[in-house]
C-alpha cells in the first residue's frame, strides 16, 4: 500500500493517508450506545451471524436487560432467492413488534451482506412505516463496514433522523450527537443560563418531542464524527456553527462562545455563566495534568474523536503529540482543532495497521490510544495503552467532565508507575 503524502493545507501538517488493514469496528457498533440513548427505538440489523456476533462482542455481552437491538440473520434461502427478502423481513418485523409493543421508532440497519446483495431497506422502511403508522415510524440507515467506521454509524442514523424531520421556520439551536444524560443536562443548563431556551438535541430520547428543522435552525455538532448529519442539516437549510469541540476548559469555552456569538448573547452574560464552571474545570485539569505533562501520546484511528482530544491533551494538559490517527478527517468539523495542533505532529487518515504498529514501536510513546484488539498485545510489548472505546462510552464533554477526561489518560500511566510485577511480556 503506498503512503502518499497529500498536503491538507491545514495546520501546515501533511496528512499521511493509509490504505490497508483497518483495525476498527464497523458502524453497527454505534447501536451499542444509540439503543440506550433512544428509549422508544429498536434497532433491527439486517445482516449475518457475524453482525450479531460483533454486536454482542462489542457490548461485551454485558447488557443484562433485553437489548433494544436484534439481528435478522440472513440464511442460505435468503441468498439463493428462494425466500423473498421483503416478505421475510416483514415477518421478522411483525414478530418483533408484537413482542415489543413499546417500540415507536424502528431502525432497519443495513450491513455489509445486505448491501452487497442489495436488499432495498429504504423502500422496505417506507412500506413498513405506512403499514404500522401512526404507532411505529420505520427508518433506514446503513452501519455496514464497507461504508462506515465505528462512530459513523451514529452519523448515518442521525442523518436518517434529520431527513425525516418536518420543515419549520422556527428559530432554534440544534445540538447534534448522542451525549450521556448527565452531560446533556449540564449543557442545557449552561445554554439556558445564557438565555438560549429553544434547544433541540438530536438524537431525541423519545420520538414524542416534536422536532423540526429549517432555515432558522442554527446547529452545532457536539461530536466530531457527524459529517453526513452536518451535510444533511445544511441541505435542510440549517445554518452551521463552527467551533472546536467541547473537550476541556478551552474547548468548552470556545464551543459555547461560538453559540453565544450566533445568538447575540451579551459578553457579560456569557462571562458570568461560564466563570465558575470554567474555573473549576481549569483547577481540576491542572491536578491531572501533573501526571500527563511532558508525556508523549500516539493515537491509532478509532472514533474520529482523536483530533479534538489531541488538541485538549496537548494544549490543556501538556502532553506531547507524536502521531494522531483518525479513520476520516472532516475538515468542516475538526478544522479548528486541527489548526490548534503543532505542525510537527503526524496526522494520519485511514489505516494500514501493520505499518502503523511499526511506527508506534519506533516512536515508543508513553501512552498509546488504540482499540481493544491491539491494547493487550501492545501492553505485552511494554507500551501503556488507553482503550479508545471507553472514550465514546464515558461522559467526557464540557467543563464538569474535563478532569475526568484527562484522568482517563492519566490512569494507565499512573498504573504502570504503580505496578511492581516484573516483566509481563
Amino acid at each position: 500500500m503506498p503512503n502518499d503524502l497529500a498536503p491538507l493545507g491545514c495546520g501546515q501538517a501533511p496528512v499521511l493517508k493509509q490504505r490497508g488493514q483497518h483495525e476498527v469496528f464497523c458502524g453497527l457498533t454505534s447501536i451499542i450506545w444509540l439503543h440506550r440513548k433512544m428509549q422508544d427505538a429498536f434497532f433491527l440489523v439486517v445482516g449475518s451471524r457475524t453482525c450479531a456476533h460483533l454486536l454482542q462482542s462489542a457490548a461485551g455481552v454485558m447488557i443484562f436487560a433485553e437489548p433494544r437491538f436484534a439481528t435478522a440473520i440472513l440464511e442460505e434461502t435468503d441468498l439463493a432467492g428462494m425466500a423473498d427478502a421483503h416478505v421475510e423481513l416483514e415477518r421478522n418485523v411483525s414478530e418483533l413488534l408484537s413482542r415489543r409493543p413499546d417500540v415507536k421508532r424502528l431502525f432497519l440497519v443495513g450491513s455489509c451482506p445486505s448491501e452487497v446483495i442489495k436488499i432495498d431497506l429504504a423502500t422496505m422502511a417506507k412500506k413498513l412505516s405506512e403499514k404500522y403508522a401512526p404507532h411505529v415510524n420505520v427508518i433506514n440507515f446503513s452501519g455496514s463496514g464497507i461504508e462506515t467506521t465505528f462512530t459513523q454509524g451514529e452519523d448515518a442514523c442521525l442523518e436518517a433522523v434529520i431527513r425525516d424531520l418536518e420543515t419549520s421556520d422556527k428559530t432554534q439551536l440544534a445540538v447534534l450527537g448522542a451525549l450521556p444524560d448527565v452531560v446533556q443536562d449540564q449543557m442545557l443548563r449552561l445554554l439556558t443560563q445564557m438565555g438560549i431556551a429553544d434547544v433541540m438535541v438530536l438524537p431525541q430520547v423519545t420520538s414524542d418531542t416534536h422536532s423540526v428543522v429549517g432555515p432558522n435552525t442554527h446547529f452545532i455538532c457536539a461530536q466530531p464524527f457527524l459529517g453526513a448529519s452536518y451535510d444533511e442539516m445544511v441541505r435542510r437549510g440549517a445554518q452551521p456553527i463552527s467551533a472546536p469541540f467541547p473537550f476541556g476548559a478551552q474547548g468548552t469555552t470556545a464551543w459555547l462562545a461560538a453559540i453565544a456569538d450566533r445568538f447575540d448573547v451579551p459578553q457579560s452574560t456569557f462571562d458570568a455563566v461560564i466563570a465558575a464552571p470554567k474555573a473549576r474545570a481549569e483547577q481540576a485539569i491542572a491536578k491531572v495534568a501533573e501526571t500527563l505533562s511532558g508525556r508523549s501520546i500516539f493515537f491509532f484511528p478509532d472514533s474520529q474523536l482523536e483530533i479534538p482530544l489531541a488538541r485538549f491533551l496537548a494544549n490543556e494538559c501538556g502532553m506531547v503529540l507524536t502521531e494522531v490517527g483518525s479513520p476520516y478527517i472532516h475538515r468542516a468539523l475538526v478544522g479548528h482543532d486541527l489548526d490548534a495542533l503543532a505542525d510537527h505532529v503526524v496526522i494520519s487518515e485511514g489505516q494500514d495497521v501493520d505499518k502503523q504498529l511499526d511506527r508506534v514501536f519506533d516512536c515508543k510513546p508513553d501512552l498509546t490510544v488504540c482499540g481493544l484488539g491491539l491494547a493487550n498485545p501492545l501492553e505485552a510489548e511494554g507500551l501503556s495503552t488507553k482503550w479508545a472505546i471507553e472514550l465514546v462510552f464515558s461522559p467526557i464533554h464540557f467543563y464538569e467532565q474535563a478532569a475526568d477526561l484527562a484522568s482517563l489518560f492519566a490512569r494507565p500511566l499512573m498504573r504502570s508507575d504503580l505496578l511492581r510485577v516484573g516483566d509481563v511480556a
Binding site: 488493514q21 469496528f25 464497523c26 457475524t50 456476533h53 443484562f64 436484534a70 484488539g373 498485545p377 505485552a380
Partner: protein
C-alpha cells in the same frame, strides 16, 4: 431470515481464527470488510492473549466492490507472507466476501508461495463457529499429516483444544499429567500449541485423545481412516467419565488394568454429610452438547442433583443429546434461541442453572444461581488459577464451582425456620455470595400469574406462599393454580395450597 437477540456461536470464520490463533507459525488471510477485525478482541480481551491473532483482514470497502477486490486479496496475501513468514497459510472469506465470490483459494494458489496454502470453505449462511474450527483443523490435518513411523513408547495426540476454548488451557495440562501417570506420553497437542511441522508428525502417536468433539472430530475420523489411529470416544469430565476414559485407553493399547495413582476428592466431598443438602436440587443444563452431557452425568450420578431439563445450542450434537436426554427421561431442548432457553428455565424454575455466559444472564434476571460449564464464556471464565474441567482435578474444580452458588447446608434450614428475619431472608440469597442476590424486580412467574387471573389467591394463602423458599415458589404457585383449575376451584385458600402440595408430592 432468523430473528436473533444473542447468539451462542459466532460465524464459521471465527472458528477458523480460533484454530489459527491456537497454533504457531500459521497465518490466516481473511477476505473481509472493515469491522470484521472485532474478532481480534475476543482473543486479546476475553482470553487476555498478549499477541494479536495471526490474521490479516483484507478490509475491502464499498468503493472496491466495483473494481478489483481480487487484487486487494492477493496483495494482502503477499504482504502477510513477507511480514509474518508463516510455515502454513490459511485463506478464507467471511460472510460478505463469500458473496462477492473472489475465490481466495485460487488467488492464493496462483501466488506460488513456497509454503503450503490451505483454502477454507466456510459457509457463513449455513454453519457456525464450531463447524468452522472443526473444518479448519480437519483441512490442515488432511493437507499436512502423512504416514510416519509410530513412536517406540506408547504415545497419543491430544486433539481439539483451540484458542478461546472453555478451560482448554488447563485441560491440556491435566490430561497430559493423567496420561503421564498412566505411562503414556503426549506426541502432539493440536491445534493449541502445534506448528505445521507438528501436524506432519501426528502419525507417530498410537492413538488420539479426542478432547472436544465439537472442534476435533473431523480430524480424528480422518486420522483413523488414513493413519489407522483409533481415537477415544469418552470425554473425561467427571469421576465416572474419567474412569471410563482410562478403561477405553486400556482397551486401545491392550492394557486393561491401567490405573491412575491420583484420585479426585469429589467422591468423598459428595459422600460427606455436609453434601446431603445437595440431594435432589433441581438443575437445568444448557451449553455445547459435549459439556452438557458430561455435566448431566456428574449432576445426577456424582452430586445427586435432580436434572430437570437439558439442551444444547449446536445442532451437530442434537442426535446424541436427544438420546442421552431420553435415557434420563427428559426431552432435550435443541435451540440457539436465547429467549426460548430463558422461557424454558422460567417454566422449570430450577434451583441451579449449569450453562454458558448467556444462562448466567438468564439466572441474574430470574434470580436463579448459575455456574458456567460451557462456551460461550466471558473474561471471568478465563481464571488466573489452574482450573481444568477434565481429569481428577477437573472433578474437584467442578464440585467447588457448582456448589459455591448454592445456599449451604444449615443455612437453608435456618432460612426456612426464620423466614421473617429482615436481614437473614431468602430473598437476600446465599449469605456468602452477594453476586447471586436474586433480582426482585424480575418475577419469572409474573406472566403465569396473570394468565390465571380468573383463579383468586386469598390473602392468607398468598402470604403462606411467600413463606416458601423463593427458588421453588414459582413452581408451587403454578402447581397450586393447576390443581385448583383441575378441581374447578375459583379461589385458592391455605388448604388448597397444602392439598396441592400433597397432590404433587413424590
Amino acid at each position: 431470515m432468523k430473528l436473533s437477540v444473542w447468539t451462542y456461536e459466532g460465524p464459521p470464520h471465527v472458528g477458523a481464527i480460533r484454530v489459527a490463533t491456537g497454533m504457531k507459525k500459521v497465518h490466516l488471510v481473511l477476505h473481509a470488510p472493515q469491522g470484521d477485525t472485532y474478532a481480534d478482541l475476543l482473543f486479546t480481551m476475553i482470553e487476555r492473549r498478549n499477541h494479536r491473532p495471526p490474521v490479516t483482514y483484507t478490509t475491502f470497502q464499498a468503493r472496491d466492490l466495483g473494481s478489483d477486490t481480487a487484487t486487494l486479496f492477493k496483495t494482502a496475501c503477499l504482504d502477510a507472507y513477507n511480514r509474518f513468514k508463516p510455515d502454513l497459510l490459511l485463506v478464507g472469506a467471511s460472510c460478505t466476501a463469500e458473496l462477492i465470490q473472489d475465490d481466495p483459494g485460487g488467488l492464493a494458489e496462483a501466488l506460488g508461495l513456497p509454503i503450503p496454502v490451505v483454502a477454507l470453505e466456510l459457509p457463513s449462511y449455513q454453519r457456525k463457529e464450531n463447524f468452522g474450527a472443526d473444518e479448519t483443523f480437519y483441512q490442515i490435518v488432511r493437507r499436512l499429516a502423512v504416514p510416519v513411523e509410530r513412536s517406540e513408547n506408547i504415545t497419543c495426540n491430544l486433539i481439539g483444544p483451540t484458542a478461546l476454548g472453555f478451560r482448554h488451557r488447563d485441560d491440556i495440562v491435566e490430561l497430559t499429567k493423567l496420561l503421564d501417570d498412566l505411562g503414556i506420553d503426549v506426541n502432539v497437542c493440536a491445534p493449541m500449541g502445534a506448528t505445521p511441522a507438528d501436524i506432519a508428525h501426528l502419525g507417530r502417536a498410537h492413538f488420539n485423545v479426542l478432547m472436544y468433539p465439537e472442534t476435533g472430530e473431523l480430524a480424528c475420523r480422518h486420522l483413523e481412516r488414513h493413519l489407522d489411529q483409533p481415537f477415544t470416544k469418552t470425554v473425561p469430565i467427571g469421576v465416572g467419565a474419567t474412569a471410563d476414559f482410562i478403561r477405553e485407553i486400556g482397551t486401545i493399547i491392550g492394557k486393561p488394568d491401567l490405573a491412575p495413582s491420583e484420585q479426585s476428592r469429589l467422591p468423598w466431598y459428595s459422600a460427606s454429610v455436609d453434601s446431603t443438602y445437595l440431594t435432589g436440587k433441581r438443575v437445568f443444563l444448557f451449553g455445547d452438547g459435549t459439556h452438557v452431557m458430561t455435566a448431566a452425568r456428574i449432576a445426577r450420578d456424582e452430586i445427586g442433583f435432580d436434572v430437570v431439563g437439558l439442551g444444547c445450542f449446536n445442532r451437530e450434537m442434537a442426535r446424541p443429546l436427544r438420546s442421552f436426554a431420553k435415557s434420563m427421561g427428559l426431552e432435550a431442548l435443541i435451540t440457539e434461541d436465547y429467549l426460548e432457553v430463558e422461557k424454558t428455565i422460567a417454566e422449570l424454575s430450577p434451583e441451579l442453572i449449569l450453562g454458558t455466559q448467556m444462562e448466567r444472564h438468564i439466572g441474574k434476571r430470574l434470580g436463579i444461581p448459575c455456574a458456567v460449564i460451557s462456551a460461550p464464556v466471558h473474561v471471568q471464565d478465563f481464571p488466573a488459577r489452574y482450573s481444568p474441567q477434565m481429569g481428577p482435578e477437573g472433578a474437584n474444580v467442578i464440585f467447588d464451582t457448582w456448589v459455591h452458588p448454592l445456599v449451604m447446608g444449615l443455612e437453608e434450614h435456618l432460612l426456612t425456620m426464620f423466614r421473617d428475619d429482615f436481614e437473614f431472608s431468602d430473598s437476600a440469597g446465599p449469605s456468602h455470595h452477594a453476586a447471586h442476590t436474586p433480582n426482585q424486580s424480575v418475577n419469572p412467574t409474573a406472566a403465569v400469574h396473570q394468565q390465571s387471573a380468573e383463579i383468586i389467591w386469598l390473602q392468607d394463602a398468598e402470604s403462606e406462599l411467600r413463606k416458601i423458599p423463593f427458588f421453588v415458589r414459582g413452581k408451587a404457585r403454578r402447581n397450586t393454580e393447576k390443581y385448583a383449575a383441575d378441581k374447578g376451584f375459583a379461589e385458592i385458600s391455605i388448604d388448597t395450597l397444602y392439598e396441592a402440595k400433597a397432590h404433587y408430592a413424590r
